[in-house]
Symmetry: C2
Subunit: 249 residues, 2 copies
């Protein structure tokens, strides 16, 4: 190829041209063909390649920049941006970062791990098919030595095959996944539950104490990536978000 994979940019002929260009490039970024840091071809190159005017190409790129997928600078050109770490309240957040932001020491411990077909209980609780191969991990995160949050997670081995070889000795599963997989959609649910027998022991709280339960499932291009259940001791934690009526501020 002459420069980058400019040949990979293909229009589908449906809808406005500027939007075809926008979607074509967006897809290349989202499916990993153009990883962060990749140079996006300059407007003139795309213009010739696609037979569109510069203004039309420009419009597509400006929009992608506003969406945060690419970064543009005069003369330097356009590069694929790093995915944003945090978006409003409930993003895929890094628990180590969260803890360190509070000025506490962070540590974690994998309490159990099992790879393969899920047990009936796990399958039911995460809405999996029993035929899907997953890694099932239970992790306790600590903040200043105290239990901070209890994490139970399944990772889909078909989507993230590198999981099988990873021991999670230095990086907890959530952070490792952020580096080794992409996600395009997530679903969150928040509820309040009472700590059960096992959870209360691990989190060192009283049985029946209120806890905040955050359940999150993540997909990339409709392929499931991971599902996680985070149990926070209630009194000690809150999630905060700030936004305006027309979107995040």
């Amino acid at each position: 190829m002459s420069d980058n994979g400019i040949e990979a940019v293909k229009l589908d002929g449906t809808g406005p041209v500027y939007d075809q260009i926008r979607r074509a490039i967006r897809d290349l970024v989202l499916n990993g063909a153009w990883p962060p840091g990749t140079a996006v071809p300059p407007e003139h190159a795309l213009m010739e390649r696609l037979g569109a005017s510069r203004m039309t190409v420009h419009r597509a790129l400006v929009q992608l920049a506003r969406e945060g997928l690419i970064t543009r600078r005069r003369r330097s050109g356009t590069i694929v941006a790093n995915p944003p770490a945090s978006h409003a309240m409930l993003d895929i957040l890094s628990i180590p970062d969260e803890v360190r932001q509070l000025g506490q020491d962070y540590s974690f411990e994998i309490l159990s791990r099992r790879d393969g077909r899920p047990s009936p209980e796990v399958a039911a609780s995460f809405e999996l098919k029993r035929s899907e191969q997953v890694a099932h991990l239970v992790t306790l995160h600590r903040s200043g030595g105290q239990p901070h949050v209890l994490e139970e997670r399944v990772i889909h081995l078909a989507t993230v095959p590198a999981t099988a070889a990873e021991r999670f000795e230095t990086t907890p599963p959530g952070d490792w996944l952020l580096q080794h997989s992409l996600w395009s959609q997530a679903e969150h649910a928040i509820s309040a539950v009472a700590a059960g027998e096992r959870e209360s022991g691990l989190l060192e709280i009283e049985q029946g104490e209120p806890c905040l339960l955050v359940e999150r499932r993540t997909w990339n291009q409709n392929q499931p990536v991971t599902a996680v259940r985070l149990l926070y001791p209630g009194g000690r934690h809150r999630f905060i978000g700030r936004f305006g009526p027309y979107g995040a501020v």
Copy 2:
């Protein structure tokens, strides 16, 4: 005025012209000068009024439309949109709607109301100054006759003076506020707490049961509008949101 308040559109001379236009119109919408339903002048009129080309005006309007502030239709023109009712998980949501969406009958009851300077307890719990005049309301919302959520709210009388004359006989305070005030920013906090003595009685649950506590404060142009604390019986409720790494889906 000839048509609408087209004279109200004023550029501030800072930054790109299209963005000056965008901000000028956005501000008119956000501060209520152009309430929902108002006809935005057509592109040609703005173009003449502002001395910009049609494409430049167009660019500003297209962007506002994408942000959801205005709605555009060929031939009919452009009108100011209704503020979105729900944005991802934690929007300003209408509790009646929420209940009816579950197919239940909705009713509510104002348990107490007091207007004037806040008591020391209320001031502390909502972080108010004791000199601020507020209405303080406690409301119980019911779903199919059962307690659904307990609401405690203060409304700033200086920002929403119409509150003083409103009896909240047919519309609960949250919904009434949506119709009689604007907001430009909100802050949410979610946490899990155990039901106290008073709350458990009102919500008809056991004392100590886990509840989801949603605290929200709302401002319009840096003026406080309202602060509310919603207590949901834990087992029965969860908040759900769905989005991608680059924003809401």
